[in-house]
């Protein structure tokens, strides 16, 4: 049992590209009472706690540990989480 394993749990979500610019940070922190949560709930909480992100969130997906996660999957505060908006490689 580690020190940080007490509520609220800090979910750190990496931000990139235009969303990071809008949010003014490359890592948003979300405080949640449970150690894991549905992807759709994470996104909802992320928007509530970081209103600047909300406008672009409709085109975003959550990646958990470097792979896209579905809305109905659960993610943990221990996961590496990222909010992936519109990409522009190539």
């Amino acid at each position: 049992m580690t020190e940080d394993n007490i509520p609220p749990y800090v979910f750190r979500v990496l931000l990139f590209g235009p969303i990071a610019q809008t949010a003014g940070t490359t890592c948003a922190e979300v405080m949640i009472e449970q150690p894991d949560i549905l992807v759709e709930q994470l996104i909802e909480t992320l928007c509530r706690q970081n209103p600047g992100i909300a406008s672009s969130v409709r085109t975003c997906r959550i990646a958990r540990n470097h792979a896209f996660a579905q809305d109905h999957e659960r993610v943990s505060f221990r996961d590496e989480l990222a909010l992936i908006g519109m990409v522009s490689g190539g």
Partner: protein
């Protein structure tokens, strides 16, 4: 090697993988070059932001799916990270297949899907910002 994926710092300056497979009659190579206009404004360079290792993993996954779907002999993907000046190559995709149509279709599909799914972002460096 059937699938290779590389993220490279700065412009892609070498000429890329030579894909020679015993029964590949068609080898097609796409080079994405940084253009001097972005959203109608003159730029000096693009800065590519890459979320590693997810970008590499997504490119690998996508490459595997396209090889499978189109029965390719081989595929090689290189993408730049960081600054790439105008006129330089930032992306290179090489595809080998028995016949031409499979390579061309696979190439088009790969690039379409990359532009949807691979966590890489370009940031234009505008000329007038300097």
């Amino acid at each position: 090697m059937k699938i290779t994926v590389r993220i490279i710092n700065g412009p892609l300056t070498d000429s890329g993988q030579v894909l020679r497979m015993p029964d590949a009659g068609a080898v097609v190579c796409f080079h994405g070059i940084v253009r001097e206009l972005e959203q109608g404004r003159r730029i000096l360079a693009l800065d590519y932001e890459v979320y590693s290792p997810m970008a590499e993993q997504e490119l690998q996954r996508l490459a595997g799916e396209v090889v499978q779907t189109h029965g390719l002999a081989a595929i090689s993907v290189d993408h730049s990270r960081g600054r790439v000046p105008v006129g330089e190559c930032s992306f290179r995709l090489t595809v080998a297949s028995m016949h031409r149509k499979a390579s061309l279709t696979a190439m088009d599909e790969f690039i379409d899907r990359m532009k949807m799914d691979v966590p890489i972002w370009k940031h234009p460096i505008f000329a007038e910002d300097r």
